[in-house]
C-alpha cells in the first residue's frame, strides 16, 4: 500500500502480487507529474518456497519528492513459531531513513519453525513514517513440501572384459539430485576374493565416501582386481552410493576370460641333479598348468652348453587343462669333454602366450674308469715287485 498524498486516488493492484503504485502509470495519469510520497515494495509478495529453505524477501523503501523521514519497520501477524528479521546492509534494523528521491534496499529473512507444514502463511510488513500514516505490505508465503533426496550412479561402461591378471577400471558418474549437499558412502559388492577400490577420477587416493553438492555430478573410478586363480566366467559387481537416507545403485559386469599359466618343475621339486660326463641321464620333470584356461600346445626345449645333448620326451604336450600336471622326461647327456663340477642348463616350457623357464643345475661327475686305470697302474707296479720278490727273493 502506498501513501500518495498528492494523488487523489491510489491505484491498487489488489488482485496482483505487487502492491505498489507504478510511477510510470501515475505519470501517465497526471500528465508528466511524478508521484511523490513513500513506498515500501517487494518484487514478489507471494512466493512459494520449499520447506527447509529459509525464505528471503528483498524490500525496497522508496522516497519520491518527500523530505527524508525516519521509517520504523515492523512485522505484523507472523504465524506462530515463525520469526522474521529485517536487515539493511547485512545488519538487523528496526528503522530506516530514505533521502529525497532515493531508495533504500532492505531484506526480510524469515525462519520457519521446525516441522512446518505445507500451506499458505500470510503476514504484513508495516512501515511507520514519523508523523504519517502507516504503510502496509501484505505478504503471502506458500510452503511446499521439499523434493525428495535422490542419488543416481551411472557407469560409463557397465561391462568390461579381461584376464584374471588385468585390472577392471569402471568410471562411475554419481549425481546428487537432492536439494541439499550430501556425503555419500561408496560401496561395492563383489564376489568373494575380489578387491574393489574407489579412486578419484584423476588421482590415486582411495575413497570411501564423497561429498556432492546439490545437483552436482562427480566421477569416480572403481577398480576391481579379481583373484589370480579365478575361473573364467561372468561376475556381477553391484556398486552403490548411499548416505543412510537415500541409496543409488548400479550393476556392473566383469567378463573374465581364462589364461593359461604353464609351470615347469624339476624332479621332486628340485632344480639340480647329477649326471656323468658322456652318459645319458634321465630326469623327470613336471609340466603343470596353474592358469584358468587350457594351454594349447606346450613345447619343451633345453638350452645346453655346446657338446651336450638334451631332449624332452614328449617334446610337445597337446592341451594341458587347468590344474593338470603331466610328466615329461629329460634325456640329458653331458659332453664327454665336460669337466667335473656344476653346469647350468636352461629349460623352457613354452605354451602359446605363456611360458616358464628354469635353470637346472647339473653336477657333472667324471667317469670312474680312470680311477680303475690308476688302480691298474698301481697293481702293475705291485705285480712287478711281486715278480722280483719271487725271482730274487729269500737271499
Amino acid at each position: 500500500m502506498i501513501r500518495v498524498p498528492s494523488l487523489p486516488s491510489a491505484i491498487l493492484f489488489a488482485g496482483g502480487l505487487v502492491l505498489c503504485a507504478s510511477p510510470v502509470l501515475a505519470q501517465d495519469q497526471t500528465n508528466s507529474t511524478k508521484p511523490t510520497g513513500l513506498w515500501l515494495t517487494t518484487d514478489f509478495p507471494a512466493v512459494t518456497e520449499r520447506i527447509g529453505e529459509k525464505p528471503t524477501l528483498p524490500l525496497t523503501l522508496t522516497n519520491a519528492g518527500e523530505p527524508p523521514q525516519r521509517v520504523t519497520i515492523s512485522l505484523d501477524g507472523l504465524p506462530k513459531g515463525w520469526s522474521g528479521e529485517v536487515t539493511g546492509d547485512g545488519k538487523p534494523i528496526g528503522a530506516a531513513m530514505v533521502d529525497t528521491d532515493a531508495k533504500q534496499r532492505l531484506e526480510l529473512k524469515l525462519t520457519e519453525p521446525k516441522g512446518a507444514k505445507p500451506g499458505t502463511y500470510d503476514f504484513t510488513i508495516n512501515a511507520h513514517p514519523a508523523g504519517g500514516a502507516a504503510l502496509t505490505l501484505p505478504v503471502s508465503i506458500t510452503l511446499a513440501a521439499a523434493a525428495p533426496d535422490k542419488v543416481k550412479i551411472e557407469p560409463k561402461l557397465p561391462a568390461l572384459r579381461g584376464t584374471p591378471r588385468s585390472s577392471f577400471d569402471y568410471s562411475l558418474s554419481i549425481s546428487n539430485d537432492s536439494p541439499n549437499e550430501a556425503t555419500y558412502n561408496l560401496l561395492a559388492q563383489t564376489p568373494p576374493g575380489f578387491v574393489a577400490t574407489f579412486k578419484e577420477e584423476y588421482g590415486s587416493q582411495e575413497l570411501t565416501s564423497m561429498p556432492i553438492k546439490a545437483g552436482e555430478t562427480k566421477t569416480v573410478k572403481l577398480s576391481v582386481k579379481p583373484p589370480k586363480d579365478v575361473k573364467a566366467g561372468l561376475y556381477p559387481v553391484t556398486v552403490a552410493a548411499s548416505n543412510g537416507d537415500v541409496h543409488g545403485q548400479a550393476r556392473l559386469a566383469m567378463d573374465i576370460t581364462g589364461q593359461p599359466n604353464v609351470t615347469l618343475s624339476g624332479p621332486g621339486g628340485r632344480l639340480s641333479g647329477s649326471a656323468e660326463a658322456g652318459k645319458e641321464q634321465t630326469f623327470n620333470f613336471t609340466v603343470g598348468n596353474t592358469g584358468t584356461a587350457p594351454a594349447a600346445a606346450v613345447t619343451l626345449s633345453a638350452n645346453t652348453p655346446s657338446g651336450w645333448k638334451a631332449s624332452f620326451e614328449p617334446k610337445t604336450l597337446d592341451g594341458l587343462s587347468p590344474d593338470d600336471e603331466k610328466q615329461v622326461v629329460l634325456h640329458l647327456t653331458p659332453s664327454d669333454k665336460a669337466i667335473a663340477g656344476d653346469y647350468m642348463v636352461s629349460l623352457d616350457a613354452n605354451g602359446q602366450g605363456t611360458s616358464d623357464s628354469e635353470q637346472f643345475r647339473v653336477t657333472v661327475t667324471t667317469s670312474t674308469l680312470w680311477g680303475a686305470g690308476g688302480l691298474a697302474i698301481i697293481a702293475a707296479a705291485v705285480v712287478v715287485l711281486g715278480f722280483s720278490v719271487n725271482r730274487y727273493g729269500r737271499r
Binding site: W308, I339, A340, D342, G373, G374, A380, R394, R395
Partner: protein, 317 residues
C-alpha cells in the same frame, strides 16, 4: 736253490727298530725342526692373512694350508719343497751306511732274509714320515682352531686326510729314490749328493726344462693353432714326470675345492659351467686319483728297482 718260509719274517722287527733309530737320530731332529719352524711361520702368516680378509668362506681351514703372504710361501709350497728332504735324510744311507759301519753281515747273520731288511728299512722310514706328517697336520689344525675359533667341517677333515695321504706318497717316492741311490752307491755321501741333485732338478729346474723340451718335440706353427695345444699337452706330460708337479696338482685340487680340472681346458668345456662352485670331495678325489696313483706306482717301482739291485749285490765285502 729255493729257500723256504716267508721272505718277510722279521719285517716288523726291522721296521720298528729302524723307526726308533730315526726318531732318536740328530739328523731327523734337525730336519723336523726345519720343517716345523717353516710350517709355523707360514701358518702364522696365513692366519694373519685370513683374519684380515672380510668375507665368507666355506673352507677356511683349507686356506690355512694354501694361503701365502709375502715373503713366505704357503704351507703346501713349503711341504712340496721340504718333504723330499725328509725322505732323502731318512734313506740316503739306509743300505750303504750299514756297509760303512760294517754291520750288514752282522744283521744278515740273523734269521731274516734281505727282503725283510730292505722292506723293513723302507716301511720304518715311511712310518716315521707318517708320524711326522700327522703331527704336523694336527699342529696346523690345532693352531687353526685356536686362532680362528672354528672347528673344521667334516668335508675339510676328509680333504685334510686325503692331503696327508698324498703327502705320504710323495715323501715315499723320495724315500724310495734315496734308498735306491744308497743301494747303488757304496759311499753315503755320493748317494746323498745324487739324491739331492735329483731333488733340485725336479723341484727347481724341471719347471724350466719341461717347456724347452716340449718346444723341441712339438714346435708351434703360428698358422696352425692346434700345434699350440699339442705343445701345451707335451709340456704338461713332461712336467708330470716330476713328482713335485704331481704333488702340487694333487694338493691344489684337494685343498681348493673349486678346482675343476688340472689339465688343459677349452673354452667350450666352460660354457654353462658355474665357476667357483666347490666340487664334492668324491669328485676332487677322482680328479687327483691319477696323480696319487702315479705317485704310489712310482714309489713301488723305484722300490722294486732298489730291491732288485740290493738282492743282486755282493754283501760280504
Amino acid at each position: 736253490m729255493r729257500r723256504e718260509g716267508s721272505p718277510f719274517t722279521g719285517l716288523s722287527a726291522v721296521a720298528m727298530k729302524e723307526a726308533a733309530d730315526h726318531m732318536t737320530s740328530a739328523r731327523m731332529h734337525l730336519v723336523m725342526l726345519l720343517v716345523i719352524l717353516t710350517a709355523i711361520g707360514s701358518i702364522y702368516a696365513a692366519i694373519g692373512q685370513i683374519k684380515s680378509t672380510v668375507g665368507q668362506d666355506a673352507f677356511l681351514f683349507l686356506h690355512l694350508f694354501t694361503t701365502a703372504r709375502q715373503p713366505l710361501p704357503s704351507f703346501v709350497a713349503f711341504l712340496g719343497f721340504l718333504l723330499p728332504l725328509i725322505g732323502i735324510a731318512l734313506g740316503f744311507d739306509a743300505v750303504n751306511g750299514e756297509y760303512s759301519r760294517r754291520t750288514m753281515s752282522r744283521i744278515l747273520s740273523q734269521p731274516i732274509y734281505r727282503d725283510a731288511l730292505l722292506a723293513g728299512k723302507f716301511l720304518g722310514g715311511l712310518l716315521v714320515i707318517g708320524i711326522c706328517l700327522v703331527t704336523l697336520w694336527l699342529l696346523v689344525t690345532g693352531l687353526g682352531i685356536l686362532t680362528l675359533g672354528l672347528p673344521p667341517t667334516s668335508e675339510e677333515i676328509l680333504r685334510g686326510i686325503a692331503f696327508l695321504a698324498a703327502s705320504l706318497a710323495y715323501a715315499g717316492v723320495w724315500l724310495a729314490v734315496s734308498m735306491l741311490f744308497s743301494t747303488l752307491f757304496r759311499s753315503p755321501s755320493t748317494s746323498a749328493l745324487a739324491a739331492l741333485t735329483l731333488w733340485l732338478l725336479f723341484t727347481i729346474f724341471w719347471g724350466m726344462l719341461a717347456p724347452l723340451v716340449a718346444g723341441a718335440i712339438a714346435p708351434v706353427d703360428p698358422f696352425n693353432p692346434i700345434t699350440v695345444v699339442h705343445q701345451a699337452e707335451w709340456q704338461q706330460a713332461l712336467a708330470r714326470i716330476s713328482p713335485n708337479t704331481l704333488y702340487g696338482e694333487a694338493t691344489t685340487a684337494l685343498l681348493d675345492p673349486s678346482t675343476r680340472s688340472l689339465g688343459l681346458i677349452f673354452l667350450n668345456q666352460l660354457q654353462g659351467a658355474l665357476m667357483g662352485a666347490p666340487l664334492p670331495f668324491e669328485a676332487s678325489a677322482l680328479l687327483i686319483w691319477p696323480q696319487l696313483a702315479g705317485l704310489i706306482a712310482a714309489m713301488v717301482v723305484v722300490y722294486t728297482i732298489a730291491y732288485v739291485a740290493f738282492q743282486r749285490q755282493e754283501i760280504r765285502a
